[in-house]
Structures are given as C-alpha cells and as structure tokens.
C-alpha cells in the first residue's frame, strides 16, 4: 500500500508515525473515492428526464468505467508531471 509512493522507502519511523502515515494514506484513498463518486456522477448520469429510472443504464455504466480509469490515469500523469517540473515549489504558502 503505497499510493503516490508514500511511505515506501522512509526508514526508521516511530510506531506512532507509522500509524499516522497509514491513516493519512487511508484518508487520501477515501477522499479520492468520494471525489470519483461525485465527479463521475456529474459526468455520466443522465438526469435531464428527472430520473426516469433507478437503474444505471448501459451507457451510463460504460461511462462510469471509463471515467474511473481516466481519473486514475490523470492522477498518475499529474504526479509524474509535478515531479518532472519540480513539485518542491508547490504549495507556495510555506
């Protein structure tokens, strides 16, 4: 479990720090899941007809599958690009 390479090589963490790192990773995975549910719902679900059916139809289903795949793809591409251009300059506020 090493989302975004977190935690991978870091040596000699205290027990408390290791559990905290695992918690941070869990929070990030949960956050990504919530964002996916939200974003792909907006992109894929047809509500123009006032929810004419409770099922996810075939078109919507395919769209959801690809939406998730492309979101992961985007996540990876953004991470690689940030490393390339030097993400160290990132947050600006510190």
């Amino acid at each position: 479990m090493s989302f975004l390479g977190l935690g991978g090589g870091a040596p000699k963490l205290s027990s408390e720090q290791k559990v905290q790192a695992a918690e941070a990773e869990l929070d990030m995975v949960t956050d990504m899941f919530n964002r996916l549910v939200d974003t792909c719902y907006t992109k894929c679900i047809e509500k123009s007809k006032g929810y004419s059916e409770g099922d996810v139809n075939k078109n919507e289903g395919l769209c959801i599958d690809r939406c998730v795949a492309k979101y992961f793809d985007t996540n990876v591409k953004v991470g690689e690009h940030m490393q390339k251009i030097g993400s160290s300059q990132f947050p600006g506020r510190r």
């Binding site: 996916l36 549910v37 006032g50 996810v56 599958d65 998730v68 992961f72």
Partner: protein, 86 residues
Amino acid sequence: MDQLNGREQQEFQKLVEQKQMKDFMRLYSDLVQRCFTDCVSDFTTKTLTSREEGCVLKCTEKFLKHSERVGARFQEQNELLMKNMR
C-alpha cells in the same frame, strides 16, 4: 501495509472502523443533498409532491448503484496500481 507490525496493525484497524461509520454518513449526506437538489424545486408546498418523491427514490437507487460501480472499478484500478509499483 507490510511495514506495520502486529500491534500497529491492530491500532490501525481500530482507526479504520472509526472511520467507516463517518464515511457511510458522508456518502448518505451527499446522496440526500444531491437528490434533493436534483429533484426538489417547487416551494409552494411543505411536503414532497408525489412527483418529487418518485424522483428522489429513483435518484437514491441510481446513486447507490453508481457508487457501487465506482467502488468496484476503484478497487480494480487500485490493485493494478499497487502491482505496477512493485
């Protein structure tokens, strides 16, 4: 997670359980807000009209099925990602 030892795993597991209820609550609240926003826009009545209620119920089902499907794909993609990292 292989870098956590037994006691740490246990502590982490406790954290996970505490968070699961919160996650469920959040998804539930998101669902209510979204279905309300999408289905209710007549404020001349104090209770849901039958048309609004029908819309809310279908929206609920659709949202649940949607989030299930996202969950299944999410897990697959996550496993793929982990495999590629090793």
